[in-house]
């Protein structure tokens, strides 16, 4: 096993939403290359507690890249330098001795900072609550094999459904747009036969809720590059197509008459 030496961490510290915040510098003299990035922060926090200083607050949970709790802009990249990888799965072997590493929270007006590196992402929940579901109350579902789903369709839906809701797409976007997140959810459901009944109502409601909180998409594609699940921006095209159709046919209006 080998070690990486003399890392300089510049970490964003902010005691609460009202605090202005600033960078603070910490030295890491030596760290094993087997350690994950968050384990390095754990070790730093243990040291801070030993030194009677307040540890760095950051969101994390499963450390398997699936719960979507972790975040962090590392050297300006959402989830750091490794493609298709969440921060919790990033290992120190990706860094060189002597490196300076800048660690910031997600920066987006829809994700206000709570403390240090932790932000509030609940705007994502509002989008899902507005239409990110199939209405299927418990109890009355038909036998599962009565709804055949061609494999290619199920696979495409699964590709979109992999989204872990971490918010990297928003953090990476120069406009702070949530189009990749919203489109991934919409595509998952709109591709499936079960999702057809609410297809246009769903896209309308979700896009409009998204617009209440987030910036607009101008096709930079930064979101796809930052996504730890490598979700393709093709889903945004699908969302836009369905949204346009929903608006043209204006189903909300038609159903009222």
């Amino acid at each position: 096993m080998s070690h990486i030496e003399n890392l300089t961490l510049k970490i964003w510290r902010q005691s609460g939403p009202a605090d202005g915040g600033r960078f603070e510098t910490y030295q890491i003299p030596e760290i094993s290359d087997e350690a994950s990035f968050l384990e390095m922060l754990d070790i730093l926090n243990e040291r801070l507690i030993n030194d009677n200083a307040e540890p760095v607050t950051f969101d994390h949970d499963c450390r398997e890249g699936i719960c979507g709790t972790c975040s962090l802009m590392i050297n300006g990249q959402a989830h750091g330098p490794e493609k298709g990888t969440a921060t919790c799965q990033l290992h120190m072997r990706k860094f060189r001795s002597g490196a300076e590493i800048v660690v910031e929270p997600w920066r987006a007006s829809a994700f206000p900072i709570i403390k240090d590196l932790m932000v509030d992402r609940s705007a994502f929940d509002r989008i899902v609550e507005s239409g990110g579901f199939i209405t299927a109350p418990t109890g009355g579902a038909p036998d599962a094999n009565l709804i055949p789903v061609p494999k290619a369709v199920a696979d495409a839906a699964m590709d979109a459904a992999q989204c872990i809701g971490c918010g990297a797409c928003v953090a990476a976007c120069p406009n702070g747009a949530a189009n990749l997140f919203t489109a991934a959810k919409i595509s998952h459901l709109n591709l499936l036969p079960q999702g057809q009944a609410e297809r246009y109502a769903r896209v309308e409601a979700m896009v409009e809720t998204m617009d209440e909180y987030f910036g607009s998409c101008t096709n930079h594609g930064e979101c796809e590059a930052a996504c730890p699940k490598s979700i393709s921006i093709d889903v945004i095209a699908l969302m836009n197509k369905d949204y346009r159709k929903a608006k043209v046919k204006n189903r909300k209006e038609l159903s009222r008459t």
């Binding site: 087997e34 540890p55 992402r121 609550e129 109350p137 418990t138 599962a144 499936l192 079960q194």
Partner: protein
Amino acid sequence: MTTATDTRLDSKAPAGPIEDKWNNYKADVKLVNPNNKRKFKIIVVGTGLAGASAAATLGELGYQVEAFTFHDTPRRAHSIAAQGGINAAKNYRGDGDSVHRLFYDTVKGGDFRSRESNVHRLAEVSVDIIDQMVAQGVPFAREYGGLLDNRSFGGAQVSRTFYARGQTGQQLLLGAYQQMARQIGLGNVKLWNRTELVDVVVIDGRCAGIVVRDLMTGQIQSHAAHAVVLATGGYGNAFFLSTNAMACNVTAAWRAHRRGAMFANPCYTQIHPTCIPQSDDFQSKLTLMSESLRNDGRVWVPVNPDDRRAPDQIPESERDYYLERLYPSFGNLAPRDISSRAAKRAVDAGQGVGPLKNGVYLDFSDSIRRLGKNVVEERYGNLFEMYERITGEDPYTVPMRIYPASHYTMGGLWVDYELMTTIPGLYAAGEANFSDHGANRLGASALMQGLADGYFVLPYTIGNYLAPMLNKPMPDTSHPEFTKVEAAASERFHRFLSIGGTRSPDWFHRELGKIIWDYCGMERTQQGLEKALSEIPALYDEFRKDLRVMGDGTSLNQTLEKAGRVEDFFELGMLMCRDALDRNESCGGHFRAEYQTDEGEALRDDENFAHVAAWEWTGDPMAANRHAEPLNYEFVHLATRSYK
């Protein structure tokens, strides 16, 4: 050992033949009129599979539901990390599956230590779960013709596991979360995020509500309800190193235990056979590799402990495929407890592989030759990628290294057939209860149980409790008991902040975990457990004198949150060891070295231990009272488990 049968431990299992019990129950159960449901408030704590599905369904039915999670959003719950799949007795393969076979496999897999009536109900509703999840849009794996695909899992000889790549838990949780989100949008469910349960309130012998802490502000607050559901997961993090997420904890269940809910079988913990071996001391958690990998991977170690050659240089004749050798009919798909102990025996015999000689190989080269790399990639691609990210090794060319780790806890709050704890009005669902898996859980059964409890059991059983309470006055949060519990909770967090010692909660957690793992882990002995029972209280003493928590109690403080959780693990750890010490037999995940067959398999003592041990809080965790619920097997014949 004191073991008394207690009237509070009446399982309330309905009479009749096993296949009619649940139908009979539903036919007789008291109902609440749809217009009256809105008069009842139900609190659901935890938003994993069990909690989210319960909150969604209770909200659909018309109850006022309030859901609590300490995460930023319900979708973070640890159900999301389940990889392999979900069992259901659909018999879509026509390979001989049936409700009865799933029932029998589960009872046998649990080493005949679960309650027959609950397990049969689980097998019955398993088929409804798949229908429900498909209707909600869960993108399960499909055949080319569009029908659902299945795979097989440990402890079964049929293919009954439904899956969504290696992310089945994620897709099922998103399904349940979306159903709950719909109810939140409609105003039927109110969500409290970043809010942690810190106590349960009992008034006049009934659960009257909960006391919570707002993690953002530190504010302690009461919530009253007619019924409370704890769906707060298991306690695998007692070992510190486990495959559980970092925040998983026993606090909700433990606080309920301290208020009178009995805690059942705490020594039944599951050690999962396929995790990535520990690489260093600073490691914060272990990563699971789905058991589904054992469908196509072959487990082996070098015959010669001193063999230092690379795996592909070791000829077939010098490899020991020990699972295939010892258990020919189940082979690499032997149940988890059996596979884990076999791996431990190999490593203890010096045959371990890897730099620290702390793993065994899980080799895919035969499957890649037989099926082609594409098929293997299709089935396990994301797991292989995850393995490579963590270890830096490519499992397509080098066999994976795996070793067992703490993964799931079968023990939990004691519940009756209605999932009610020994506190009336307080329910436990999912991993938080003890009910369905006996002494060992089969793969792909946790997701099944969580969703069964939340979607298909609680919505019926809660009504039975609430119906007679219609229009009766209920204590609200101004009741002095709420005030008292709130004050005690505030005092507790203040105490952590004012100790001013030198060690962090994480330091204590790591030390505690080592003791529990060493003496109450994969193999237990009387001597070891007695040692643990002297070491844990000593360390706990130190915790109370030497804890250091920085910051304050009036803003977000992760160290303070952790302190409370670690304290509860201390008390639980003592009970785990007590329970393991008093259970003088080996069964499932509980392996006492003194009780084994000549071949090293678990040796049960049905004469003396065919019962559930339910522990009652007395104020001193070292002096809990042990009660027993006898397990009467009417429909299954008690047999020695054999997977040969």
